[in-house]
């Protein structure tokens, strides 16, 4: 019976198409790390195209955060809203983008749960390509969130003295830091069992990083212990540097500290991510 089926198969058009498809004479050579990485970035962009809902939060969160904190604290903290906005907006930009980074771990974990990641792991490609490619794709989301926050800020009366160059450099610095911070969330994405657990744990990491910082208020009124944390919190340095760049008062060491923190985060957490990625069972 088996032989009979095979004979039938030989003559069907389906079988000959299949034959032609698997008779691959011209095998390409392996793609470069850059090309493999960019293919994964392309995938991340395709996902935005097919699932535009995932942009809801990067568009709505900045609007809610900016409006809420500006009018909630503006009068009380700075006397009037416009004065506070000059201080707050770079900070709220930092917070918005950092909150968006948790989706990195979330999407990674979803890929693992759905089995897509094992297919990637079974390919002969540069190993970090799927993760690095996804992180680069995520910067598109961060950029969208930044543009919306800035546009709303400008409409509300934010006037950056650093001009266009200062604002663009501020956003770029923020993107570099967000990329580096994402390696923490890729670790959570690889370690935890469900996408929702990743989301919850990531929020726990982000809360002290963003709220216990100088994003909302000048730390000089805080208790000593909290001040000490705020002073070493890399997010405070990031907010200060972004403020400096956008306000045209930046200093070399402000930016330097952020870059050091970004390099440090990457050096520590990227290898842990890759180790977990390789040995995942």
């Amino acid at each position: 019976m088996a032989t009979q089926t095979t004979t039938e198969l030989d003559t069907t058009p389906e079988a000959s198409k299949l034959r032609a498809a698997i008779a691959l004479d011209d095998r390409p050579s392996r793609p470069s790390p850059v090309s493999a990485t960019l293919t994964f970035t392309w995938r991340a962009l395709l996902k935005i195209k097919h699932v535009p809902e995932q942009l809801f939060d990067v568009t709505l969160t900045p609007i809610i955060f900016t409006l809420m904190f500006t009018y909630l604290f503006g009068g009380a903290l700075a006397g009037d809203v416009t004065t506070y906005l000059q201080y707050l907006l770079p900070g709220i930009l930092v917070q918005t983008v950092l909150f968006t980074t948790v989706y990195t771990g979330y999407t990674l974990n979803t890929d693992i749960t759905k089995g897509v990641f094992d297919r990637f792991r079974s390919l002969p490609i540069w190993r970090p390509a799927p993760i690095v490619g996804a992180l680069i794709g995520d910067t598109v989301r961060y950029t969208i969130a930044s543009v919306i926050t800035l546009a709303l800020g400008l409409a509300l009366g934010f006037r950056p003295d650093g001009g266009v160059v200062g604002v663009v450099l501020g956003v770029l610095l923020l993107l570099v830091f967000a990329f580096a911070l994402s390696w923490i969330f890729t670790i959570l994405g690889l370690l935890l069992r469900t996408p929702n657990a990743v989301m919850g744990t990531s929020m726990l990491v982000l809360m002290p990083l963003t709220f216990a910082s100088n994003i909302f208020v000048d730390p000089s009124t805080m208790p000593a212990l909290l001040q000490r944390w705020v002073d070493i919190n890399p997010v405070s340095h990031l907010a200060t540097a972004v403020r400096g760049l956008m306000g045209g008062t930046t200093s070399f060491d402000q930016i330097g500290w952020v870059l050091i923190a970004a390099v440090g985060l990457t050096i520590v957490f990227a290898p842990i991510t890759m180790r977990l990625y390789r040995n995942r069972s």
Binding site: T6, A36, K47, H50, V51, G115, R119, L123
Partner: protein
């Protein structure tokens, strides 16, 4: 046949234990496999027997705790990238991206294998066409039916025309028509020289496709051979009986044993019993019913058939598949 065939897959003493808390599961506990090139090799076993873990180790997705494995001569540990460039993988854990369209998935994989620009698109189109998915190429994979989904998974694992293909339960959950399509695809692949390692829970599937079968249980190979050899080891066939009165079952079992000369299995159902039919041709199965009738035992149901996977397991392990599944899971 007498000449020594090249081995496509060779595993010796593969071990993988998973520890969670205090319990250690011996998922794979010392497996040897030898799969000749150009053949279909079936790995048969119930859920949790260690099939998937074994395949994941052979496909470089999981590091073995002990043992060695080579695929087309490449070591899965020291030469993983060489293994990855010659194998294709399809299974519940190696899936395509549901959010993307069929075309996008295949173009992405083609690029990741090194096809550039229009060649990647061409390769994707050719595969979609060959798998009867040309019309569905622009639809998101999540809208595909079960059979289409399995075909796109297969197409995805064939982008680079792998010489060795791992199919992990390729037909589980498919309707009979889709299942036959998958079987036909496997036959064409092997006819063209590929080696296929296929895991399955279905004896029939292994029987239909596989040249040789390894039966796995508790992470160990408990039997190995051709389908015919395996079935012979449990008897060519089996009789299944139901008695009208459960009180008669013990007596019926005795009589069946006398006629067939084989051991009778009592099913959990108090009315049912089964026995292997020896394949030596010396037994007259036809005598069973008159003998039971003479003893005054009413038999409302009687069937004679091929041994099921359950019976193969019962014969090989002494316990039904359900028990095994529960223990391991």
């Amino acid at each position: 046949m007498a000449t020594q065939q090249e081995l496509a897959i060779e595993a010796r003493g593969l071990v993988k234990h998973f520890t969670s808390g205090k319990t250690t599961t011996k998922a794979v506990d010392g497996i040897d496999l030898a799969v000749p090139e150009g053949t279909v090799y079936g790995v048969l076993g119930p859920n949790g027997a260690g099939k998937t873990t074994a395949v994941r180790m052979l496909a470089t997705l999981l590091r073995p705790d002990a043992g060695t494995a080579r695929v087309l001569g490449h070591d899965v540990l020291t030469d993983a990238d060489a293994v990855r460039s010659v194998v294709g993988l399809t299974g519940q854990y190696a899936s395509v991206d549901e959010d993307l369209t069929g075309t996008e998935n295949l173009v992405m994989l083609a690029r990741l294998y090194g096809f550039t620009g229009s060649r990647a698109k061409g390769r994707a189109g050719q595969l979609l066409d060959a798998f009867g998915l040309a019309d569905a190429g622009s639809r998101q994979v999540k809208t595909y039916s079960g059979g289409m989904r399995r075909r796109i998974d297969l197409a995805a694992s064939l982008v680079m025309s792998p010489k060795v293909l791992f199919l992990d339960e390729p037909t589980t959950g498919l309707d009979p028509r889709s299942r036959n399509q998958v079987w036909d695809i496997v036959r064409v692949l092997v006819a063209d020289g590929a080696t296929v390692l296929l895991t399955t829970q279905y004896l029939e599937e292994a029987d239909q496709l596989a040249d040789r079968i390894a039966v796995i249980d508790h992470g160990k190979v408990i039997a190995e051979g051709t389908a015919t050899e395996l079935k012979r080891s449990v008897g060519e066939g089996a009789v299944h009986l139901r008695v009208a009165d459960s009180a008669d079952r013990a007596r019926a079992a005795e009589l069946v044993e006398q006629v067939l000369g084989t051991e009778v299995t009592l099913a959990p159902d108090p009315y049912a019993l089964a026995a292997r039919v020896p394949d030596d041709g010396a037994v007259d199965v036809g005598r069973l019913l008159p003998t039971l009738a003479d003893a005054g035992i009413t038999v409302p149901e009687f069937s004679l058939g091929q041994p099921s996977l359950d019976e193969v397991f019962l014969a090989l392990t002494g316990q039904p598949t359900d028990d095994i599944t529960e223990e391991v899971a």
